[in-house]
Symmetry: C2
Subunit: 320 residues, 2 copies
């Protein structure tokens, strides 16, 4: 059918963004609603429906919509349900694909938000044409999407690719959400950068730092970045340390699936070379020689919101 | 063609074993030659040819042979070459598939020995019917074969699945072969069990142990097993500790590819529950809740040599 679109939706803890996407990956209409304002799932879906319908009318009505693709934290591709997502307002298991399909009267498919970003990157971004790569999202948390043999790895239950929760430092930092110690997320997320900065300030009381001009509450990954750019020693050391742990973790991932590239995505990537250089150095140092100097470490080529919208929309074209 | 066979060959550091395998996975003829006695690859291939030809004649000649499948450490599926295998007598890169094909005048395919074992297990063993599982070989070293979406994961360069070299304890034990510190292989191989036993004996000089009746040189994983079965406290602690580290590593692997099962294979599996129980306990303890009590931890159902012969032979039926 001419002028057919997919609706791509990216559900985040704070906001939900959506777009109408054509077969070429062009996003025709964009929009957003609050996620956290709607703790009742039916009200959330009504709000989303009201926000998207005007865009659907613009393209000629629902008969021009092939389906809905959704990316969400803890989204399970096989069951179409969001399962126990700690950062979303809905608890337990939410049959979101079913609810959306019933509301819009078109097919709907769901996947994990990092998986959606990986698909977006594979179809329209830095991983175009690649059959083996890993996408790592470095935001409030650390997510991942793994592609091998040209396919997303879902695992037997749809939950594969939780690399942010792999243990990198045994008995290391406590993860408040999971209770685990030493997971990647506790060292390499935006939240972790804040914690590393606070720890380093406390451990080096003699050392002057621009960060000491701010209260503990004010310190976040953006502030650490700003101070690092201004040459602050502790702030630079925070990113170097973050890269050291990330590099060690990436080496393990490489020895698992031997990807052509690892694509980094999310807020922390704004640190650029300051994060990339130590990450690459420590990844290479921890690799078995047969893997060295082969894996490309890249930043995403897509705008942050777009990758997930595009990836989610790509699910639609695969719908039977 | 009726009565068609595949030759399955498993190249180990000490010996090479082979078998003629039919379409049903029945091994008709078995044989073995020394690997390490032939540092010149051409002489090794001549010896193998002379050992296999009588079996080929038994089934009616080379026209009944569909091809040769080879499993070898550091065997690369894409290139058909063995690359820098530390435990084999041939250095650098050996184009083994090409050499075998030229000698026998039938097609030949190569894969990593642990990948071959995984394919054998998937077609004829404990992983029959599974689409997502991980095979871990616990022998002199630690190898692995990973299956996801019903396919072996080879990675972009054919080297995927080197889980024995992933870093589990940062700055941990030195690996004499690779120079890396804290890799799984330095804690959970047969070699590692010996080292753990020696360390524990030295750290607990007050503690009585059956192992003290032997010289350091005599201690190996079999002796530790024998002493553990007889109730020796330190020997039991060695296996408990090995399981603790293995369990932690397996948890990370599960959060990568979410397999239906992990299949353990190789000499160390003789320890049975003594290894399995602590491994399972620590795997579960390190998993994110969504993965808990889902992954089956199994021992291989195939005889050690057979798994690799069968897996290697299976490569042949896929040859174009």
């Amino acid at each position: 059918m001419k002028n057919t679109y997919a609706i791509g939706i990216d559900i985040g803890g704070t906001n939900t963004v959506f777009g109408l996407v054509d077969h070429y990956g062009m996003i025709e209409y964009r929009g957003a609603i609050s996620t956290k304002k709607f703790p009742v799932i039916e009200e959330y879906i009504n709000e989303l429906y009201n926000a998207i319908m005007p865009a659907i009318e613009q393209v000629g009505g629902i008969e021009h919509i092939r389906g809905i693709g959704i990316g969400a934290p803890n989204g399970n591709y096989y069951t179409g349900t969001i399962e126990y997502a700690p950062n979303l307002p809905w608890k337990d298991i939410v049959p979101i694909a079913l609810l959306m399909s019933a509301k819009f009267q078109v097919p709907a498919a769901l996947t994990n938000d990092a998986n959606a970003a990986a698909v977006g990157e594979m179809m329209y971004g830095a991983a175009k044409g690649m059959k083996d790569f890993i996408m790592i999202t470095l935001g409030t948390g650390v997510g991942s999407g793994i592609v091998a043999n040209g396919q997303l790895i879902y695992g037997h239950d749809g939950n594969a690719g939780e690399l942010g929760h792999t243990i990198i430092i045994p008995n290391g930092r406590l993860h408040a959400g999971t209770g685990a110690r030493g997971s990647l997320e506790t060292y390499c997320s935006a939240t972790a950068v804040r914690q590393t900065a606070i720890e380093m300030l406390e451990q080096n009381v003699e050392e002057d730092s621009l960060l000491r001009n701010y209260s503990k509450e004010e310190i976040d990954s953006k502030l650490v970045y700003t101070c690092a750019v201004e040459g602050d020693k502790i702030a630079n050391e925070v990113y170097r340390y973050t890269g050291e742990i990330l590099g060690m973790a990436l080496a393990n991932f490489v020895m698992f699936s031997s990807p052509e590239a690892i694509i980094l995505f999310g807020g922390l990537c704004k640190a650029g070379k300051m994060l990339l250089d130590p990450t690459k150095e420590h990844m290479e140092a921890n690799l078995l020689p047969i893997f060295r100097n082969k894996v490309r470490l890249l930043f995403s080529e897509l705008k942050e919101a777009d990758a997930a919208i595009l990836g989610a929309s790509a699910l639609v074209w695969e719908l039977k």
